[in-house]
Symmetry: C2
Subunit: 335 residues, 2 copies
């Protein structure tokens, strides 16, 4: 990715339609925020060979499936998962009517502000917090809560709206793939119902192309009107081993391209890579403390383990170093 200012790299939230237009206007380079180099070349060569009729690697349009992790791949997951940020607010708001949370973990730790201790239970612990704080709401009420929250909530470190903390190069990649007939799915450990209210506006990805973790739902009548009520039970965790399962359940075809940034994405890349034909497999590596955050392999807050780096090297997955891929070059058009 090009060496632009931290602000430009991170902070440009464009709706899909605008990105799409902008890509068409610069048909000679659909990826202007990506520096010329091996990574960009991998992308453009892959897209050309799977979409050029007559190419030995040609893939028919219905099979052009690309899957993207969300947290840390499409938008920033630092200094904390956005969904956790919302859950903390909700735990605080509901605490007066839940006196037991003062002593029950992970709620007690969260209420004391100790996020690290609260997350000691891993993804399941996080999901349990999320489920517990939204149980009893209908899907429509939850949808509205998320829409209202995401419209104003800001990253505590940068002071920007979370929806402004999306990666411009990835927006360009999404639009570039869609312009070539791809369906671009999100496949995230985050809550499916948490993402859907805003992914269409922010990424151009409609709800039916969002795969995520879920809680159980119950169909019932309220005041003579049918509703779906959120239950405090985990239905499915769409992370690690769960990602290929989520892909199979929701898409039913093996992707030909997959993009992630952490150990949670390993199995998605393995599953995608195990199909026959050309593949594009990429991991974003957050190693750029100057312009963004450094928390990849070797970092104490890292979710990109040394083992993942070894597997990536062995299997020739593209590791996108946020720091090193971009060589200083001519500034991007927008500067």
């Amino acid at each position: 990715m090009k060496t632009t200012s931290k602000q430009n790299l991170l902070a440009i939230a464009l709706v899909g339609a605008l990105v799409f237009t902008s890509v068409h206007a610069r048909a000679q380079d659909p990826l202007p925020a990506w520096n010329d180099g091996a990574t960009k070349k991998s992308i453009t060569e892959f897209v050309a060979k799977v979409t050029t009729p007559g190419s030995p690697d040609f893939v028919p349009v219905p099979e052009r499936i690309a899957t993207f992790d969300n947290d840390g791949t499409l938008w920033s997951e630092q200094p904390l998962y956005v969904q956790l940020f919302f859950a903390i607010d909700r735990v605080k708001a509901l605490a007066p009517s839940h006196p037991e949370w003062k002593t029950n973990e992970p709620f007690a730790a969260l209420l004391k502000g100790d996020v690290k201790a609260a997350l000691a239970g891993g993804e399941r612990g996080l999901l349990e917090i999320v489920m517990a704080t939204h149980a009893g709401m209908t899907t429509e009420e939850f949808n509205q809560t998320v829409k209202d929250g995401i419209a104003t909530a800001k990253n505590p470190k940068t002071g920007k709206l979370f929806t402004e903390m999306v990666y411009q190069p990835m927006l360009e990649l999404l639009a570039c793939l869609r312009a070539k007939g791809f369906q671009t799915f999100i496949v995230s450990g985050g809550g499916i119902e948490f993402m859907r209210p805003w992914t269409e506006q922010v990424y151009g990805i409609p709800p039916e192309q969002v795969v995520g973790s879920s809680g159980k739902l119950k169909y019932e009548m309220r005041d003579g009107r049918p509703v779906l009520v959120k239950l405090p039970e985990i239905d499915f965790i769409n992370d690690k081993d769960g990602k290929p399962v989520g892909i199979q359940m929701h898409i039913g075809r093996r992707p030909i391209a997959a993009f992630g940034n952490s150990d949670g994405d390993r199995q998605m890349l393995e599953w995608t890579g195990a199909g026959s034909g050309a593949r594009l497999l990429m991991l974003v590596h957050h190693d750029d403390a100057a312009r963004e955050f450094e928390y990849g392999a070797k970092s104490p807050i890292g979710t990109f383990s040394d083992a993942l780096m070894v597997e990536a090297r062995e299997k020739n997955w593209n590791v996108i170093s946020m720091k090193n891929v971009g060589q200083p070059s001519s500034p991007p058009n927008r500067e």
Copy 2:
């Protein structure tokens, strides 16, 4: 539906592309197999008002979602569910290595040929049979088994391929809606992995637009290659109360049109109907013993209860009488 011969009503399996072409060639009537009458008028008026720019009922393309039950709505479910037909074969084939099935129900009843007793446990019993007989297979192996089976298996009563037992009027309706920007989803109690290998060819519906019941899957490595293995556990039953849940999980938007034929579809129609704006809600009623099968309300094998008929009348859902909707008229073009 028009009063054509039994053969023509039932037996015309065209791939989606052909139907699509045929619809375009007769632009003046995209639904030639439907008789002129109230039902056809409901369809054409609905499609016109939600797709005409400037109409007060206009619906943007991404929100044009239509959901279709499969068994009994898109293809024949008589004299038995096709998936059950396959499961019986499989139970017989596996019986030698499962001596316990001789005494354990529902397997014992199935092996004795008593389908009715085997299904006394309802949808869950049927799914348990299906899960048990495919446990340990990978999704790829199962996919191939279904593809091979569906290519040759024939309806025991009509002697036709199951894929020839699809309803021509519904193929036209699917194509007509897609030509107007709709996404046409299957939302069936049948197994999601059982339908996907053939729905694209038979209905023009791709795997990612098939919602169904599912078993649990496990990601694992076999000979160094990642696979998804089918476990003998039910994951989700996409029937009755489950249909709105399945719609929410897979699509994440409320449909504006829904089509079913039994009590299993009641909640899907209720959920679809509870949204604001124009709606098209239809139930196929199998009351035509002469040309097809009679098993609707009042029939001992019926799954269309009197209570459903009452609800349909109260809520003005369109009930498509297979016998009465079609008035004798000029024969369809293809005869």
